[in-house]
């Protein structure tokens, strides 16, 4: 136990002095990196704009109230689109993510050398490209509209679902699988009876969780033309009709809260 000699008594210390020094050094490096990055950002910032931000905020807030409630009539269709984008996108993602996850998991992949890296690459590239960027590309490909949004959400979610799912597959209890093999099950039966029942709760939880995230993401896809309520948001911001903007924000807030509540309910009843 590390102790320090103080006068004539020994005092307990949490770390040895060498370790303590290493921790301090780590902090020093961290702070240095942070201040360097901060300085670069601050150089690129026009501080005059920042200093008048409170006035700007007050001005914007005064333009935003009261929300234009009559605009609500035109919002129902985009809200429905938004929910559809999220739901269909999640369905597409799960359909593709399941096989990818089985190919990526160490204990089910047919070949750890060749297939697994490909599956992992699919996962990482789908995860690292934001759904807005997918939408940006897809709008050029299949035209603006809901379909581009659905595909964008789908492509973006594959990585997320597959990653969580393959981690769940890797963490299963091998004994059960072995028991199924011992009864002479084929490879397919082994998957269906040995592995699938074990990952089912995780699978359901992951899909609901992703659906919830997708609702949130599909509200902004319209900013690049991919359908949903974001289209209205973009239009209202560019025409400076702030009363409509505030109504849309309220609607997004409500949708997100409802979807979060629904997904929490479903997850509680599953797990």
């Amino acid at each position: 136990m590390p102790v320090v000699q103080l006068a004539d008594s020994k005092v307990w210390q949490r770390r040895t002095s060498r370790k303590q020094f290493a921790v301090w050094f780590g902090w020093l490096i961290g702070v240095a990196i942070f201040s360097y990055c901060w300085q670069l950002i601050s150089n690129k910032t026009i501080w005059e704009f920042v200093s008048d931000a409170p006035e700007q905020a007050a001005d914007m807030a005064s333009r935003m109230v009261p929300p234009k409630w009559s605009y609500m009539d035109t919002l129902w269709a985009p809200i429905w689109d938004t929910i559809n984008i999220a739901t269909l996108g999640t369905v597409i993602a799960i359909t593709i993510a399941v096989p990818v996850a089985f190919l990526a998991a160490r204990n089910t992949t047919p070949s750890a050398k060749f297939v697994r890296p490909v599956a992992l690459f699919i996962i990482v590239s789908s995860r690292s490209i934001n759904s807005l960027i997918w939408a940006l590309m897809l709008v050029t490909l299949i035209g603006p509209g809901v379909l581009a949004g659905v595909v964008a959400i789908g492509l973006r979610s594959i990585g997320f679902c597959a990653k969580l799912l393959y981690e769940a597959i890797e963490e299963i209890d091998a004994n059960q699988e072995e028991a199924v093999i011992a009864t002479g099950a084929s490879r397919g039966q082994q998957l269906i009876y040995g592995i699938v029942p074990q990952i089912m709760p995780a699978f359901a939880g992951i899909s609901v969780f992703r659906w919830d995230i997708n609702i949130r993401e599909s509200t902004v896809l319209g900013l690049v033309g991919a359908g949903g309520i974001g289209l209205q948001l973009d239009a209202s911001i560019s025409t400076l009709t702030w009363t409509q903007v505030s109504l849309i924000l309220l609607v997004i807030l409500a949708t997100v809260i409802v979807s979060e509540w629904v997904s929490a309910k479903i997850r509680h009843s599953i797990i």
Partner: protein, 228 residues
């Protein structure tokens, strides 16, 4: 949902040309602006993660049911709920309007997003900790800060460091889109290359983003092992 299948069929032909336009990725002709954008994204990701985590620690402590008094608990949960609701890009739209174009607006949007994410997970982690250890430290006469430092912090630290790195990774990825609405970073470069139909440059940018995310992902695994 209405799908115009004729349009889809037309698009399939076009998409072949479109996808071919991404190859080969062109790293060279826009290299300078790509490097600028990537660096700016990295600065934004680092600063917003640090500031966001610093701000989220008090909020997260307040939002843990076993630490905070009821009013504080509800206030902190409210803060977390609000900052988690709006996607970073909507926050970025408003921060760009308030603070002007540039990385500062993006940095703020990402920091707010970080508070919601990190604070919530921290609160949940504290609620799930082992109360026996906390009691043991308290029973030797530790003050409140000592109690936090020696009983709670060691319990949540390994997971929180992992989550911090995960958030850095999220912030880097998000910083690639806040640029679309003027919040600085690689997103601006990416949008420009799409607008100019320079898809080969766009492909290069996307590949670089994927590469950096992969590096972050692998290193986060190592760092987590090293911390534990």
């Amino acid at each position: 949902m209405e799908v115009n299948w004729v349009r889809v069929a037309e698009g399939t032909l076009r998409s072949k040309r479109f996808i071919m336009a991404f190859f080969p990725p062109d790293f060279i002709s826009r290299w300078d602006s790509i490097v600028d954008g990537i660096l700016e994204s990295i600065w934004m990701a680092v600063t917003s993660t640090v500031i966001g985590i610093m701000l989220s620690i008090p909020v997260g402590l307040g939002a843990a049911r076993n630490l905070a008094y009821k009013p504080v608990y509800y206030a902190c949960r409210g803060i977390l709920a609000i900052s988690r609701t709006f996607p970073e890009i909507i926050l970025a739209i408003f921060f760009v309007k308030l603070f002007g174009f540039g990385p500062f607006a993006g940095f703020l949007a990402l920091s707010v997003g970080t508070i919601g994410f990190y604070g919530k997970l921290l609160a949940e982690d504290i609620e799930a900790m082992d109360p026996v250890q906390a009691e043991a430290v308290k029973s030797v006469g530790a003050g409140w800060l000592q109690w936090l430092n020696y009983s709670i912090q060691p319990q949540v630290m390994p997971r929180m460091i992992g989550l911090g790195i995960y958030r850095l990774d999220i912030n880097f990825r998000e910083s690639s889109v806040v640029g679309i609405v003027g919040g600085g970073g690689i997103g601006a470069t990416l949008l420009t290359s799409f607008d100019r139909y320079e898809f080969d440059s766009a492909a290069a940018i996307l590949l670089i983003i994927i590469g950096i995310v992969m590096v972050l992902e692998y290193s986060s695994g190592y760092i987590r092992k090293w911390v534990q």
